[in-house]
Symmetry: C2
C-alpha cells in the first residue's frame, strides 16, 4: 500500500493557471507562487455574489488520531465535481511548527489530498510568517511605547499581548523579557504562543476585506492602564502597519486536489482559544466561484460546528445549506468504552453504546437549523455489522448515513455521500440561525452553549471571572459571541467522559478578550498555546534523501 | 522633484518571464512569485560556467546617510546594459524589521532603483522568514535536548545559540527563558538577534549548493559541554530539517531595475558580525548568465571590500575583475573635518583634507590585486571645484574618477563610469589574491587586517580572548578567515577618528565562532545585533491610503 507522500508524489498536478481557469479566473486575477500555488486577487475574492451552497464538514468526538474531516472534505469535493457540480474546497492551511515535532502534515490522506503537499506543509505562501511579523510588531510597539515614556499609562503588569512564533518551543512559553539594563526597557514577564494561537490569525480569518482587517486590528486590546481601562492597538497607532504586513496574507491561496479540483487553503486559527475555521474571505470567494463549497471546522461538532455557526457565520452573514458529520466505527467504539488498543477488533455492542455520541451531534447541529448527512469514513477493520449499527443510529434521527472510501478510492469513493449532500444542500431545507442573540449577557451565552450543546447541568465560574465579564460588558464588549475552549474528546470538560454525558459541571477557569477577532474566550480546562517538541522530534529524521526528495516529514 | 516611491510607482515593470528571457531562462527555469518576482531553479543557478566578469562596488568611509553604493550599483548595471553589455546585478535583499523603525527601504533611489520596491522591502519571497524558522528550530532542539535528559552534556551556561526575529525589538535582546516550572525546561539567560544577524543567514550566503548548505549548518557550534568541547547542530541532528526549511530560500530571487535589466537580490547578512555580501549562489548564477556582474559589499571598503575578498571570494573561489569605489564630496568633506550641518556648503580645502580617506581605500583595494575606478556620486550641492579636487586625489593614485548622475538620470547618468569599468574589467588587469593565507594563526590574521588595512599600530586583545582563539585552533577552527566587526565610520575602532588615521590601537573586545559560515568574528567596539525602535517609529505612520497605496514606508 502506498503512503500519503508516495501517492502525493505520484500525482501529476496541473498548472495553477489551469485550475484558476476552471473557476473562470483570468491569469491576471491570480498571482502565482511557483507553478502550483497562487494568491487570488482581493477584487475577485471580495465578490459580493456568494451564490454557492455552503456545506460544513464536522465530526463526532474523535479518537486522538482524528476521524478524517479533512480527508472527507477533500473526498466529498472531488465526488461533487465527479457528479457534475462546480465545487470549491475551502480549508485551513497547516501550521509549520508542529511538522517538526510529531510526524504528519495536514493536507488530507490517501487519494483524498490537496497538493503540493510539501509546499503547503512548509512555508506555503508565507501567510503565517506575515501573521508572526504583524503580531510581533505590535508587541515591539507596546514595549517601545513604555520605554519612551508610556504616555498611555500602560500597566506593565497588565500587558496581555504576548509574542508568537510558528514553532514548538516550550522554552518560550514563559520568559522574563527586557532584562539587561535601561537600554532594553522595563523587565516584565511574558511569553510566546504558537502563531496559529495569535489573535491576528483569528482576525485575518474573520475579516471581510482590508478595511475590516485594519479596523479589527485596531480593536485588539493589548493590556490595561493602572485604572484598568483597555488599551488598544489603535491607541498605539499600530493597525496601519500591521495591515500593510498582512496585505498579501489576506488573499486566499488557490491549490488543487490530487484529482485537479480547486481548493482554497487560507488561514488556520486554533480550534480552542479561537474559532478554528478557514478565512471568511476564502469562503466568500469560494461561494462566488462555485455552486457548492465544502468547508471544515476544527475538532468535533460540539466545538467546531458551534463556533462555525455562532462566530464565523454570525459575523460573516453566511448561511450554511447542510452539514456532514463524519463518524467512524472506531470512534464510536471508543465512545462506547473500548480501549485504544482494542479498536481494531469487532465490537458491535460498543458501537451501539457509543452511537449516543453521534445522535447528540446530529441533534445539536440541527438545533442551528442546518440539515445533516452522516459520512461513515471507512476503515479496513470495520465490519458490516458495525457499520449497520452506525447507520441505524443515524436513521433513528432521520439522517442518511453513507459509507465513504475516498481514502482508498478518491472522489469515486464518496459519490453516494455527494449525491445525498447535493440533494440536501440544494433543497433549501436549511433555516440557519445562531444559538443565542448578540444582546445576551456574556455569562448567559456561556451558559447557553454549556447547557444546550454540551448538556451540562451548570457552569462554574469564580467571582473574579464574573467580575471580569462585567467589566468587559461595561467597556462595550458585551455584544460579542463566546468562544469556548475545552477538550475535543468529550461534550464535557473532562476528556475521559465519553459518549453523551449530561448534567456535568462546566468549569470556566479563565476568560480572555479577543476584541479584534470579536469574541470572548471561555477557557474550560488546560489549553496549551505553545506546544513542546517530543523526546525524539520528527526534525531529527527530516532531510533531503539522495534523490533530492524530503524524507521524514510525513 | 519626485520621491523614490513616486518614481518607483510610475515605472512600468515588465513581466518577470520577460526579464528571465533576457537571461536566456526558459519559463520552467523560474518559479514566479507574483508577476514581478521569481526564484531561479538551483540547477540553473548552480551552473559551473561562471564566465562573467565580477565587479565589486564598495565605498569610502561614509556619512550616516551612506554614499549610495546600492544606487551606484543599479546605475552602473543599467549603464553597462545601455552601452551593450549583458549585465546582471547581484545585490543583497533588505531586512523587514528596520523598515518599521526609521523610514526607508533598501532598493536604491531616484532613477536607479530595483522593483517591485514594496514587495522587496516587505516579505519579498520569504527568504528571511525561512531563515528565522530554521534558526529557531535549532534553538528549540537545543532546549528540547536538554529538557529530555541532555545526553550530549550541554552546559546550559555555555549555550551560545540565541534566537532571531526580523524585527526591531529591544525587549528581546536579553531574556530569561524556560521559566514557569518543570514543563518549560531549565531556566537560563538568552536573547534574540535580528534575523540578518543569524549565522544561518551568513551560511545561506556562503553555501555553494544544497549539500554544502547542509554540511555548513551541521558545523554550527551551538555551545559547549562542561568540558568545553564544542557541540554542533549536527550532534543535535538538526541540519537536515534546517536544510529542508531553507530549500526555497536558497534559490536566487530575480527582479528588475526600473530600466528593465535583470537583478538577483538574494541574502543579506550583517556587515559587522558577518561578511555583508549577497549570496554566493546568486553571484555565481549571475556570472553564468551575464558578461558583467555588478555586486556590492556592506559599509566602506575597509570592512566590506576586505570581507568580500577575504571571506566570500576566498571561500567561493571568485576572482573579481575590478572594483568601483563610490565617493561623494560630502563624505570627503566630513572626513576633512566639516560638521554634518555644514556639508551642503562649498569647502574645497575640506575636500582636499578628506581625500586622504579615498586615497587609502584605493591603495587597500589594489593591495588585493584588484584594479579600481572611482565613482563620484553626484549631489546637487557639489561644486565643480570640489569635484576637481576629488578627481585629482584619484588621479594621484593613477585611478580614473567619473561623475555619476544615475540618481537623477538613471543608466544614462553613469555611462562614463560604465565605459571605464567595462574597459578595466575586460582588460585582465586583475590578479586577485586574499590578504593572508588560511594557515596563519587566528590572532595573526586579525593583526594582518588591522595593520595592513586599518593601518593600526597594534591590536589589543585580553589573555582570555587569546586563550579562546587558541582553544578554537586546537578544536580545528584555526584555518578559518576572520570577520572583523567594527565601526564603519573610521579605519579605526573609534567612529570619530576620520580621514586616514594610522598607528592607532585596535581593541578586540570579544571573539565569536561562526563555524558553519566559516569565520571567526573579532568584535572591536559595541555591535548591536538587535536594534530598537525609535521614540516615534515609522510603523505609526505606515498604512494604506485611500487609493490603496502604502504610505509612510519610504
Amino acid at each position: 500500500m502506498l503512503t500519503d507522500i508516495q501517492i502525493s508524489r505520484a500525482a501529476r498536478l496541473q498548472p495553477i493557471s489551469a485550475i484558476a481557469a476552471k473557476l473562470g479566473l483570468q491569469p491576471d486575477a491570480i498571482e502565482p507562487y511557483g507553478h502550483h500555488k497562487a494568491k487570488i486577487d482581493l477584487a475577485v475574492a471580495g465578490l459580493g455574489d456568494t451564490r454557492g451552497r455552503l456545506i460544513l464538514v464536522t465530526a463526532i468526538n474523535p479518537t486522538p488520531a482524528g476521524e478524517g474531516k479533512t480527508t472527507t472534505s477533500v473526498g466529498l469535493a472531488d465526488a461533487l465535481c465527479r457528479i457534475g457540480h462546480k465545487t470549491v474546497l475551502a480549508l485551513r492551511e497547516p501550521s509549520l511548527g508542529p511538522c517538526f515535532g510529531t510526524k504528519g502534515g495536514a493536507t488530507g490522506g490517501g487519494y483524498a489530498q490537496v497538493g503540493p503537499m510539501e509546499d503547503i506543509n512548509l512555508h506555503f505562501t508565507g501567510d503565517f510568517h506575515a501573521i508572526t511579523s504583524a503580531h510581533n510588531l505590535l508587541a515591539a510597539m507596546i514595549d517601545n511605547h513604555i520605554h519612551w515614556g508610556n504616555a498611555l499609562d500602560i500597566d506593565v503588569r497588565r500587558v496581555v499581548w504576548r509574542r508568537v512564533l510558528d514553532i514548538n518551543d516550550r522554552a518560550l512559553r514563559q520568559i522574563v523579557q527586557s532584562v539587561g539594563g535601561v537600554g532594553n526597557g522595563f523587565p516584565r514577564e511574558s511569553g510566546f504562543d504558537i502563531t496559529v494561537a495569535s489573535e491576528v490569525m483569528a482576525i485575518l480569518c474573520l475579516a471581510r476585506d482590508l478595511d475590516d482587517l485594519e479596523e479589527r486590528l485596531g480593536r485588539i486590546v493589548i493590556g490595561y492602564t493602572r485604572a484598568k481601562t483597555p488599551v488598544t492597538a489603535s491607541d498605539l497607532k499600530a493597525a496601519g502597519a500591521m495591515t500593510v504586513l498582512l496585505a498579501q496574507a489576506i488573499k486566499p491561496n488557490l491549490v488543487q486536489t490530487l484529482e485537479g479540483n480547486p481548493a482554497l487553503l487560507h488561514g488556520g486559527p486554533f480550534a480552542n482559544i479561537a474559532h478554528g475555521c478557514n478565512s471568511v474571505i476564502a469562503t466568500r470567494a469560494a461561494l462566488a466561484l462555485g455552486d457548492f463549497v465544502v468547508t471544515e471546522a476544527g475538532f468535533g461538532a460540539d466545538l467546531g460546528a458551534e463556533k462555525f455557526f455562532d462566530i464565523k457565520c454570525r459575523q460573516a452573514g453566511l448561511k450554511p445549506a447542510a452539514a456532514v458529520i463524519v463518524a467512524t466505527v472506531r470512534a464510536l467504539k471508543m465512545n462506547g468504552g473500548v480501549a485504544k488498543a482494542d479498536l481494531g477488533s469487532e465490537d458491535v455492542e460498543a458501537v451501539r453504546r457509543g452511537s449516543v455520541n453521534l445522535v447528540r451531534h446530529i441533534e445539536n447541529v440541527r438545533s442551528f437549523g442546518v440539515p445533516v448527512v452522516v459520512a461513515i469514513n471507512h476503515f479496513t477493520s470495520d465490519t458490516d455489522a458495525e457499520i449497520e449499527v452506525l447507520r441505524e443510529a443515524a436513521a433513528s434521527q432521520g439522517a442518511d448515513a453513507h459509507v465513504c472510501r475516498h481514502w482508498a478510492d478518491g472522489g469515486a469513493g464518496a459519490e453516494d455521500l455527494a449525491h445525498a449532500v447535493a440533494a440536501l444542500a440544494g433543497s433549501d431545507a436549511a433555516q440557519f440561525a445562531p444559538l443565542y442573540p448578540d444582546e445576551l449577557p456574556l455569562i448567559d451565552k456561556i451558559n447557553t452553549v454549556a447547557t444546550r450543546i454540551y448538556r451540562a447541568g451548570s457552569v462554574a465560574a469564580s467571582p473574579a471571572i464574573l467580575a471580569q465579564l462585567g467589566r468587559w460588558e461595561e467597556a462595550g464588549y458585551g455584544h460579542l459571541p463566546v468562544c469556548m475552549a475545552k477538550t475535543q474528546y468529550s461534550f464535557s470538560a473532562d476528556p475521559t467522559l465519553l459518549g453523551a454525558p449530561s448534567g456535568h459541571v462546566l468549569p470556566v477557569r479563565e476568560v480572555k478578550l479577543s476584541a479584534g477577532a470579536g469574541f470572548v474566550v471561555a477557557i474550560c480546562g488546560e489549553i496549551m498555546t505553545m506546544p513542546g517538541l517530543p523526546r525524539v522530534p520528527a526534525a531529527e529524521s527530516i532531510r533531503f534523501d539522495a534523490r533530492g526528495e524530503i524524507e521524514g516529514l510525513f
